[in-house]
C-alpha cells in the first residue's frame, strides 16, 4: 500500500467520480456529500506525500512502475519529486474548495458536476505524477475532457464557443508535443521521461522539440500570444471551472516547462530563452494593461492570471542569464520563484474566482458596473475580497508577493531591464485589481439590487477562510515549500545548464 499512494490518488477520485455519476442527479444531496468525502479523503491522503517526502533527494519518490504497453516500452510509471508534489497537493486542495463552492449553487445536474471535478482531479494528479511520456500525455489530454464538459454544460451564455475554443486551442498545442515525444522515443526507444532527460540531441533537434513543447505548454500557461482562449474560457466557465482552470490547469503548462523543456532541451532553452523572456515580459506588461480596462470581473481576473503566469515563464527562462557559477542564487530565485508563483497563483486566482462566483451567484452578473458599494451589505465578504485582491496585487505577507519577489530578484541578476519591466506589475497589477475593488466593493450603492445582497453564509465563509489561511501562511512562511522543492530545482538547474551537445 505504501507504494501505491499515487495510484490511489489518481484512481480514487476517478472511480469516485464514476460512483457519483451512478448516484445520479436525483440523489443530489448524497452525491454532494460523497463527492466532498472523496475529495477530503484524497486531500488527506495527498498530505502523506508531504509528510513522507524526503526533501534531500531529487530522485523520484513514491515511485510505481509496471509495464503497460510493452510494444512501445510504455510503463505505468508514477513518481513525484519536489516539483510535482506541491502541485499535487494544490490539486487535491483546490478540488475540495471547488466541490464545496458548487454545493448548492449548481442545480443543473449536480452529481455530474461533482463527478466531473473528481475525475479531473484524478487526471490532473496523473499529469503531475506521470513519469512516462505517453502516460503523461494521456492524462494531459484526458484532463481536457471534463473541463470541456464543465465549461460547455455549466458555463455562461457563450459557453459553447468558449468550450470549443478552449478544447481545440489546447489540443492543437499538445499534438505537437506528441510528435516530439514520439520522435524522442524513436531515438531512445523509451518513453520514460527520465530517459528523455538523458537523451542527447543535436541543436536542430532540440530546437524543433523545444518549439513543439512550447506549443503545448505555452498554450496551457498561457503565454502571449497564445493566450486568447483563456479569457473566454474563464469568463464562460462556472465558478468551479474557472477555479480549477486557473488554479491547476495553467500550472500544467508551467510544470511542462520544468519537467520537459528545461531538462530535455537545455541548449534550445538557452538559445531561445531571449524569445521566451520577451514573451513573458509582454505577458506581464501588455496583459496588465489589457486587464486594466476590462469591464467583466472574470475577464479581468483571467487577464491578470496571464500576467501572473508570465512570472512563471520569466523565472524559468531567466535562469540562463541569471546563473552565475559563484552564486547560483539568482537562477534559483527565478526557478523557485516560478514554482512558488505557480502554487501561490493557485491559491489566489482560485480565491479571486470564488469571490466573483459569490457575487455571480447572487446577482448573475459579472459586470463590474452592476456592483458598487458591496461592502455596505456584505462586509465580511468584502474583507476577504480585499485581502485576495491585495494578494493578487502582490502584497508582502501574502503568497502573491513571494513568487513575484523571487522572480524579480532573480531577473535583476539576469538583466536589470527584465526586472524593470516585470516590476511594472507592482503598479499595473495593483491598478487593475484595486480599481476593480474600488468599483465593486467601495463607494455608495448605486444598483438597488446590491442593496438586497446577503453576506456570505458559513459555507462560503469557510471556503474563503481556508484560502485566506493558505495565502497568508504561504506568504509569511514560504520556507517549507522552498525546502521541498529546493533539491529538485537544484537538480533541474544542473540539467538545464548541462549542454547535451
Amino acid at each position: 500500500m505504501e507504494n501505491s499512494i499515487l495510484s490511489l490518488l489518481i484512481w480514487l477520485p476517478i472511480f469516485g467520480g464514476g460512483l457519483v455519476i451512478l448516484l445520479g442527479n436525483e440523489r443530489a444531496v448524497t452525491a454532494r456529500w460523497v463527492s466532498l468525502a472523496i475529495s477530503i479523503l484524497v486531500f488527506v491522503m495527498s498530505l502523506s506525500l508531504w509528510t513522507g517526502f524526503d526533501s534531500s533527494t531529487h530522485l523520484m519518490q513514491f515511485a510505481e512502475k509496471s509495464s503497460w504497453i510493452t510494444y512501445f516500452n510504455i510503463y505505468y510509471h508514477l513518481g513525484v519529486d519536489g516539483i510535482s508534489m506541491p502541485l499535487i497537493i494544490l490539486t487535491t486542495f483546490s478540488t475540495i474548495l471547488v466541490i464545496a463552492a458548487g454545493w448548492e449553487v449548481i442545480q443543473k445536474r449536480p452529481a455530474h458536476y461533482m463527478a466531473a471535478f473528481l475525475m479531473m482531479e484524478g487526471l490532473i494528479i496523473g499529469v503531475f505524477s506521470s513519469l512516462d511520456a505517453i502516460l503523461f500525455y494521456a492524462f494531459w489530454e484526458a484532463s481536457l475532457i471534463p473541463m470541456l464538459l464543465i465549461v460547455g454544460i455549466w458555463g455562461g451564455d457563450n459557453r459553447v464557443y468558449a468550450a470549443i475554443k478552449f478544447f481545440l486551442y489546447t489540443f492543437l498545442g499538445s499534438v505537437f508535443m506528441l510528435v516530439s515525444l514520439i520522435y524522442m522515443y524513436n531515438k531512445s526507444g523509451s518513453f520514460s521521461i527520465l530517459d528523455m532527460h538523458d537523451l542527447s540531441l543535436t541543436v536542430a533537434e532540440q530546437a524543433w522539440i523545444f518549439w513543439a513543447f512550447f506549443m503545448a505548454f505555452a498554450v496551457k500557461v498561457p503565454m502571449f500570444p497564445v493566450h486568447t482562449w483563456l479569457p473566454d474560457a474563464h469568463v464562460q466557465a462556472p465558478t468551479g471551472g474557472s477555479v480549477i482552470l486557473a488554479a491547476i490547469m495553467l500550472k500544467m503548462g508551467g510544470y511542462g516547462f520544468f519537467r520537459f523543456s528545461l531538462p530535455i532541451t537545455p541548449d534550445a532553452s538557452l538559445q531561445f530563452s531571449g524569445v521566451m523572456i520577451t514573451l513573458s515580459l509582454i505577458a506581464i506588461v501588455y496583459i496588465g494593461f489589457v486587464a486594466l480596462v476590462q469591464r467583466d470581473m472574470k475577464k479581468l481576473i483571467a487577464y491578470s492570471s496571464i500576467s501572473h503566469m508570465g512570472f512563471v515563464t520569466l523565472g524559468v527562462f531567466a535562469l540562463f542569464l541569471a546563473y552565475n557559477p559563484n552564486s547560483p542564487e539568482g537562477a534559483f530565485l527565478g526557478l523557485e520563484g516560478a514554482m512558488v508563483q505557480m502554487i501561490s497563483h493557485g491559491f489566489i486566482s482560485a480565491a479571486m474566482f470564488l469571490v466573483v462566483g459569490v457575487l455571480y451567484d447572487r446577482l448573475h452578473s459579472r459586470e463590474i458596473s452592476t456592483y458598487g458599494g458591496v461592502i455596505n451589505t456584505m462586509p465580511k465578504f468584502t474583507g476577504f475580497a480585499v485581502l485576495f485582491a491585495m494578494a493578487n496585487a502582490g502584497l508582502p505577507g501574502t503568497s502573491g508577493f513571494v513568487g513575484e519577489f523571487m522572480v524579480i530578484l532573480g531577473a535583476v541578476q539576469a538583466n536589470i531591464w527584465y526586472a524593470v519591466l516585470a516590476a511594472t506589475t507592482l503598479i499595473v497589477g495593483a491598478a487593475y485589481t484595486l480599481w476593480m475593488v474600488k468599483r465593486v466593493f467601495w463607494g455608495k450603492i448605486t444598483n438597488p439590487a446590491v442593496q438586497t445582497l446577503n453576506d456570505i453564509n458559513s459555507r462560503e465563509f469557510s471556503i474563503l477562510a481556508i484560502l485566506t489561511l493558505a495565502v497568508l501562511i504561504m506568504g509569511l512562511y514560504p520556507q517549507p515549500v522552498i525546502e521541498v522543492i529546493h533539491v529538485s530545482i537544484d537538480h533541474l538547474l544542473h540539467q538545464a545548464l548541462a549542454s547535451k551537445l
Partner: protein, 653 residues
Amino acid sequence: MENFYLTIALSPLLGAIIAGFFGRTLGRTATHTITVLGVLVSTVLALMVFNYHVLEQGAIFNQNLYTWMQIGELNISVGFLVDNLTAVMLVVVSFVSLMVHIYTIGYMHDDKDYTKFFSYISLFTFSMFMLVMSNNFMQLFFGWEAVGLVSYLLIGFWHHKESAIEANLKAFLVNRVGDFGFLLGIGLVLAFSGSLDYAEVFSSLDNTLNQQLWGMDLITVICLLLFVGAMGKSAQVPLHVWLPGSMEGPTPISALIHAATMVTAGIFMVSRMSPMFEMSDVALTVVMIVGAITALFMGLLGIVQNDIKKVVAYSTLSQLGYMTVALGVSAYSVAIFHLMTHAFFKALLFLGAGSVIVAMHHQQDIRKMGGLRKKMPITYWTGLVGTLALIGFPGFSGFYSKDMIIEAVHFSNLPYADWVYYAVVAGVFITAFYSLRLFFLVFHGQSRVDPHTESHLHESPLSITIPLIMLAIPSAIIGYFTIEPMLFMGWLDNAITVTSSHLPMAGLRNEFHGATAMIFHAVQTVPFWMMIGGIATAWIFSIYRTQWADWVQKKFSIIDYVLQSLYGFDRFNEIVFVKGIKKLGNFLWKISDSALIDSIIVNGSAKFVGFIASIVRPIQTGYVYHYAFFMIFSLLIILTWTLFMGNNPLLVI
C-alpha cells in the same frame, strides 16, 4: 531580549486581530481598551528599549526570528535589528500611536465601524514596528507595503465618500510607483551582495566599486532606486500627489500615518541605508534637491489652501522635504531629529485640527471658522504650541531641528547646496506664513462660523484633549533636551555612517554651543527673521487687513492659479497616466488582443479553414460524371507523377 522586541511588535498585532475579528462581539469599550493596552505595552517596552540602547548604550541586537526562505546560500529571514535608530523610532511610533489610539476613542465615537478602526490602527502600529525593527530588506519591504495597505484601508475608511476611495486608490498606486523603484533597488542590492541582510549588505559594499549601470556607478543607481521608494512613501515631488488626498481619511490616521510615522518611513530608510548613500554623491545631491523642491514648493501650496487639514498636509509635505534635504547633505541624524520633533508637533497639529473639525461638525473650511480661541481653550493652547514648534520659534522643538537642517545645508559641499540653502530659508518664511494664517483664521478674529454650529461649539472631550496635551509637551521641549545627545553625543552613531568627506555634521558640531545658546543666537540668524516676517505677513493678511489678501490674490492671479491648481500635477497625472493608460489599455485590448490576435489570427485561422472547406465542398457536386472526371483526372495526375516525376521517375523525358 528577543521576546522583549517580539512583544513590542506583536502586542498591537494581537490587539488588531482581536479587534478585527471579535470587535463587534466584544463591544466598543472592550475593543478600545484592548487595543490601547496593546499599544501601551509597546510604548512602555519601547521606552525600556530606548533606555537600554540609547541611554545605557546597550549592544545592538541583531537576530533572525525565523527563516523566511533559504535558497542555496541565500538566507532571507524575518528578524530584528534594534539599534539606537530603531529605538528612537520605536519610541516615536509607539508614543504617537498611543496618543492617537486614545484620541480615537473620542474622535470616532459616533462611527459605526469603530472597532474596525481600532483594528486598523493597531495593525498599522504593528506594521510600522516591523518596518523599523527589520534587519533585512525583505522585511523592510514587507513593513513598507503593510503600512501602505493600512494607509489604503484607512484613507478609504469612509468608503461611501467617492473622494475617499479615489484618494486611497491613488495613494496606493503612487506608493506602488515608489515601491517599483524600491524593489528594483533591493534586487540590485541582492545582486551585488548576495544577501538581503543589512549587516551583510553593508559589509559587502566594496563589491559595487567600479561597477557601472546605465552610465552611472552601480551604487548610485541602487541608491536612486531605493530613494524612489522613499519618495513614494515620504511623498517627495513628484510622488507627493497622494498625500493631500489622503486627508480624506479620518483625522487620527492623518496624524498617525500621514504625518507622524508612515510618511517618515522613507526618511528612516535612507538613514538606515546611510552606508550606501554615503558612497554616492550623485545620489545624495538628487536626494537633497528633491527634498528642497518639496520643502519649498509644497510649502507654497499651503498658503492657498483653505481646508484645515490640507494646510497641515502641505506643511507636512514641506517638512518632509526638509528632512530629505537633511538626508541629502548627509545630516542623517538631523533628519531623524527633525523626524522625531515633527512627529510630535505634527501629530499635535493634526489632532488639534481634528478637535476643531469635530467641534465644527466636520466643517473643514477655515474661512468658515474664526474666534475659536474662547470656545476651545485647550485646543487653542496646544495648537499654539504646535504651530510655534512647526515654524521653528526659538525654544520649541521644531526650532532646533529645522535650524540644524538649515545650518547643515549651509555647510554642505555638494553641488547646488547654495540654491538649496536659499530654498530652505525661504521655506521658513512660507511655513510661518501659512501656519499662522491658519492659526489666526481658526482661532482669532471674527467668528465666521454658521450660527447653528456656533451654538453647539464647545471644547472636545477628555479623550481628545489629553492626547493634545500629552503631545504638546514633547512638541515644546523635546528639542531642547535631545538635540545635543542625538546630534553630537553619538546617540545614533551605531546606526548611521557618515563619510568624512561630507562636512555638515562636523560643521554643526563646531558651531554648536548648547541648546540654550542656540535660542539666543537665533535672533542673529536669517531664518529667525524670515519666520518673524512670515508671522507678520500672516497677521496682516488674516487679521489686520483681510481685504489685502484678496487684492494680492487678484493682482497675482497667475501665481494664484498655479498654486490653486497645485502646479498641475494632478491634471498631468489624470491626463497622462489615468486617461492615457486607459486609452492604451483599451487599444491593446480592443485592437491588439481582441481584433488582431483573437479575431484575425485565432478565429481567423479557424474561419480560414472554414473558408477552405466552403471552397472544397462544392467539388462534391452530386453529379456522377463529375466524380468520374475527378477520378480520371486524378488517374492522369498520378500516372504522370509516377512516370515522370516523383522520387523514382520511371521514364525520363
